[in-house]
Amino acid sequence: MEKARSFWRFIQKSVRLVVTGNRYYYAWVVFLLLVMGFGVAAYVRQIKYGLILTHMRDQVSWGFYIGNFTFLVGIAAAAVMLVIPAYIYNWKPIKEITLLGEILALAALVMCLGFVLVDIGRPDRFWHIIPFVGLLNFPSSMLSWDVLVLNGYLFINWAVVTYMLFCAYQGKPYRKGLVYPLVILSIPWAVSIHTITAFLYNALPARPFWNASILAPRFLASAFCSGPAILLILLQVLRKMTRLEITDQAIFKIAELMAYAMGINLFLQGAEIFKEFYSHTEHFVFTQYLYFGFHGHNTLVPYAWASVLCGVAAFLLFLLPRTRRNWVTLNIGCVLIYSSVYIEKGMGLIIPGFTPSTLGEIYEYVPSWTEIKIAMGIFALGFLVFTFMLKVAVPIMLGEFTKAGNQPTGT
């Protein structure tokens, strides 16, 4: 009872913390709310008129929404997988890096679920996929697996983050017997969410572009590149703007590990491209459409090459110790690899799977304004969730926001 009351106080104080801040904080939050407003307005229209407001059609039946979903599952997975090296190398501060990774995973998951929700034709029937409430086609459908692992992952991360923060707020050490098993469970679980999302596509022999056994390994490799890229920039921002101490050594170690991940990612991509090019079967058309265009249809071509070039450039920047240890080139590398994976695991994965269609038809898909507005709204929601969580978590980590102490202000 006492605990519950204390927790309730904690929530109240956290909310108060979230709604107070300096000018820049308010400007940022208002900006995000505005973008979300545009997204909501577009979504209301989409509900009214249907998905016909998107540019998806029977030939290309998934598009921008599912592309973003796939990319973000990778972010959610990689953020937590970073916990492994944090423990192996005993980075200071381990607890903080673990927490930040999990908070990033939570924000990414909120966006993932948002993208799934806006993609389905009958959001009013969303409850049909809730286990025990609806009727889940488990274990047959890979989508039913995805529903279970994504929500399970959301729950685990939420539980760990909330519990650890609440303990720190109370000034008590957290119970290792409770947290360690959950953190250890969250690591294979992180692998599973991205593997199962890969299997979602992999499981469709009707789509040769996805039906390659290398797909799941490629998903993991690319996630290990893009996820830490965000964290790397985030850690730098946090140590500049707050008193949170993050050693250079930790950042450079993450960068070094990313270099290996990028090398593996490029190797796997190369292996797949070799197989497609050299065997040159009728299934080559999808790869051809992506990299060279097909019968004059070449919307994706510049993006595909941009992704390859960004990926290679980032790999070189991260590989050479000199550029890896230079803040400017390191951050350029982060942006490059992030862009590369965003193209490759988003539109570059979904659209060629459908182009040409199963009956050989070419429908060139580009997202509509409705899709772009709704997607921006969901990204704004993710950033808002992330901002709010950091607003509470960072002062707790710094010991500024405690049960006993006064409410901190600022940042």
Binding site: Y49, D58, S61, D119, H128, S141, M142, A203, T358
Partner: protein, 324 residues
Amino acid sequence: MSKKFLSRNGAPGEDSTRPEGGSAVPEQDDAESASRRKFIGTTVLAAGAAMLAGPGSLAIEEFLQRNFHELSKQDLKEIIARLEKQYSTEYGKKVRVGDEPAMPGVLFGYGLDLSRCVGCRRCVYACVAENNQSRDPQIQWIRVLQMDKDKGVDLAHATCYYDPKEVPEEGHFYMPVQCHQCRNPPCVRVCPVKATWQEPDGITVIDYNWCIGCRYCMAACPYGARHFNWGLPHLPSDEMNPETHYLGNRPRPKGVVEKCTFCIQRTRKGRYPACVEICPTGSRKFGNLLDPNSEIRYIMEHKRVFIFKEQLNTQPKFYYFYGV
């Protein structure tokens, strides 16, 4: 035109050759867990439904409707009565929504004679007229592919957007594609909510009141047979076919997937599908695969049939053949 094609009795021992998958009648051991789920579901959802739907009790009823397999006979009767009333008002004519179950001893199969098809696409429009597809946005369940004679069956050189003055065109042949009613349907396997299944007579159907519109089945189908209601389907009253089936050609809502059902509303009453009836060249054949005397079995015995994309092991019940 509507000749009966079914012999009165199925082949003996047909049960072992039945396709696997759901049956139209809920099974006994499912009933208990279904009612438990129903209870949990109803409790959880009632509040949410009331919030969403406001005062409209009809909307709440629709919102709370369970999967087809969890409905009792009484539930289904009430739902059908509700739908008949709703459709009759909407289209200004008496609409019947049937729920005829699969006939015992029947497994439907289809034959398409590539040597006779001239690509006139009368089947496409007869299908649309029969099955109440949306006219705007336009939905068609049959795609007729025009192919080059010197390439053979090759999708890289096929198009469905041919528009000459006269068909057939020099140097081309035609290959209509629609749902292949696979024995091993990938669409059924991937559906996350069991909104689509294979009936005992081999027809894969969709529960339009349960489909969530995720379109995973469309990604899984190798034949482009599944179509989505991207917008509100528009069906003019005077073109609406009032003779419907719950799992077939009744008007569909926005945001769900639909597909060819071998004209379930006709074939379960012993009639031919609309596309078979209309075909001016007699390229389309239909019958009971379990009846050794059926026309489809005659074709399989005396012609040489092939199936499309056999490497995917979907095992279609839709056979192409060369009749002449």
